[in-house]
Symmetry: C2
Subunit: 321 residues, 2 copies
């Protein structure tokens, strides 16, 4: 259902859902489970040295290799080596982000790979299309992690991109259940990417303490901070409060970068230091109250979306006077 | 079509669309045209002295009185008088905002009126329900004008509110065409409120120079500013740049308020001073490229939504291997 489109055929997926590549969260176990569940499984290579990436790709392939991709942030110094390694190991779908789509698209297309680039505006989506990518992922303001500066929400961004490019558009940011899945398709997206929903799955590498925190603090919101450097949406923990304090007092950018330090994301999301770590998360975390398997998440979404679609059936309101 | 629900019956509307009450923009001409087009027409009373309100209500009623409401911001000192005047003139649907839903809900319910309150979080939506309102309008981050502080986008906010209250939820912020209309219904809303879309209509009171500016500057974005005082989403004109400069240098709140001054919204949106006026607008303005009649807007949305619904028809993808 909902999967009879060009993009699903291109990616060899049954349902038009992409499990987002998330730094310190999307390892081989999650990506393999996603592929097995009929969606695109994505390994987030951002934080991985080459030996770790190799291990995670092999782990995923052992579980299922129907539809596996690697997300490569291009600002990472090992990105070229990561691409070559993943290709050697049999990966043929590449999601590139945080850099120019011109950098490796031709290189990968010449090897007959599928290339998808992540972006956050219609203008940039057009540049991706011009660079020859097969599809774009467009990420709205509500998404977790690093975001665009224009603050366009998915409701605004997705139709703009659909109207601007002729390649398939994958929407991201704010999508987590059957309702938002169906909404994403109504907006014109060919598939819906979900990050936070899969972070809160049994198979994600996020620390168990982090997962519990997110389930038990639904009222504590998130905020997009560090707009002067690299914008990022954070859970409002102690680390966030410190960043916010610096921003509120107009501290110089160097101070912010110094406070950010190194390895804070790993500390928080992977090692479970919930006070001092950087906790990147989407706004939708506050709508999620369980940690199911990837298979259960996917089945619930597609089954409920089917019934929701039928409920939406437009019947003329004859009682209007 | 799409209108066979409790809320449509309650409001006596054919299509589940609400034309938003917008200060200096939604007068009697716009509200009357909306009512005539089969949706809820709303007069934005925020800026109106009593004689102006009377004139605008009568103007609307002369055009069509099937479904007319008045939006009353409760922080305005004349709000009680506005309510009584509108009631005397035959208005029976009241939308209250910018204040406690407890203030006049009982007063209006005792007069057999329908009361809808505007809010921006699930917690506050529950308070509205407890105060006895008939429905809530929940406004996401992407909306124009004055917004909530939590920055929850419509995609996140609407399902949370639908899951929290049992009264009908009307979504607002980011909705402007058939795609976003259908998305809003998929999210669980009983109706979709549109502001910016109707500001850019033939019948709105927005200054013609302001309308032209919005059509011709699609790349200039908007931003939610003045979070330390009264958050508002503004078009990035000279006035915005001045506010932004004060914020970026951590100027004290009093300076911001002083710079904001008085009557800036009227100057900008109604009188057409595009440099020095305050131009409140939703993010979606950049997606809109025409100024049709209200009737044409409504007909396009409902017709295209029907065809879009049919295109979404979930066919199992049998080609999956």
């Amino acid at each position: 259902m909902f999967g009879d489109n060009k993009l699903c055929k291109m990616l060899n997926i049954k349902y038009p859902i992409i499990q987002a590549g998330m730094v310190w969260v999307s390892g081989g176990k999650l990506a393999g489970a996603a592929s097995k569940a009929g969606i695109l499984g994505v390994i987030g290579a951002g934080s991985m040295k080459l030996d770790v990436l190799e291990e995670q790709i092999k782990k995923a392939q052992k579980i299922d290799s129907t539809a596996l991709a690697v997300n490569i942030p291009l600002l990472y110094k090992l990105s070229k080596e990561q691409i070559d390694l993943a290709y050697e190991l049999g990966i043929r779908i590449f999601i590139t982000s945080a850099g120019s789509p011109k950098l490796y698209t031709k290189y990968l297309k010449d090897k007959n790979c599928i290339v998808i680039h992540v972006t956050s505006s219609a203008k940039l989506a057009k540049k991706c299309e011009d660079a020859g990518v097969d599809a774009v992922i467009v990420e709205g303001f509500e998404a977790g992690g690093h975001n665009g500066r224009d603050e366009l929400t998915s409701l605004v961004l997705v139709p703009q991109c659909v109207d601007t490019v002729s390649i398939p558009v994958i929407c991201a940011g704010g999508f987590y259940d059957a309702r938002t899945f169906l909404a994403g398709l109504a907006l014109g997206a060919s598939a819906v990417q979900m990050g936070t929903r899969f972070l809160l799955s049994q198979e994600s590498r996020a620390h168990e303490k982090y997962k519990s925190l997110l389930l038990n603090e639904p009222e504590t919101s998130t905020e997009l901070v560090m707009k002067s450097t690299v914008p990022v949406r954070l859970f409002k923990n102690k680390f966030y409060q410190e960043i916010k304090e610096l921003e509120n007092t107009c501290a110089p950018t160097e101070k912010l970068i110094e406070h950010l330090g190194k390895g804070r994301a790993k500390e928080g999301m992977h090692l479970g230091d919930l006070d001092n770590g950087e906790l990147e998360i989407g706004q939708v975390y506050s709508s999620i109250s369980d940690i199911p398997s990837v298979e259960a998440i996917v089945q619930n979404i597609v089954n409920q979306a089917l019934s929701l679609y039928q409920d939406l059936n437009p019947t003329p309101n004859e009682s209007h006077t």
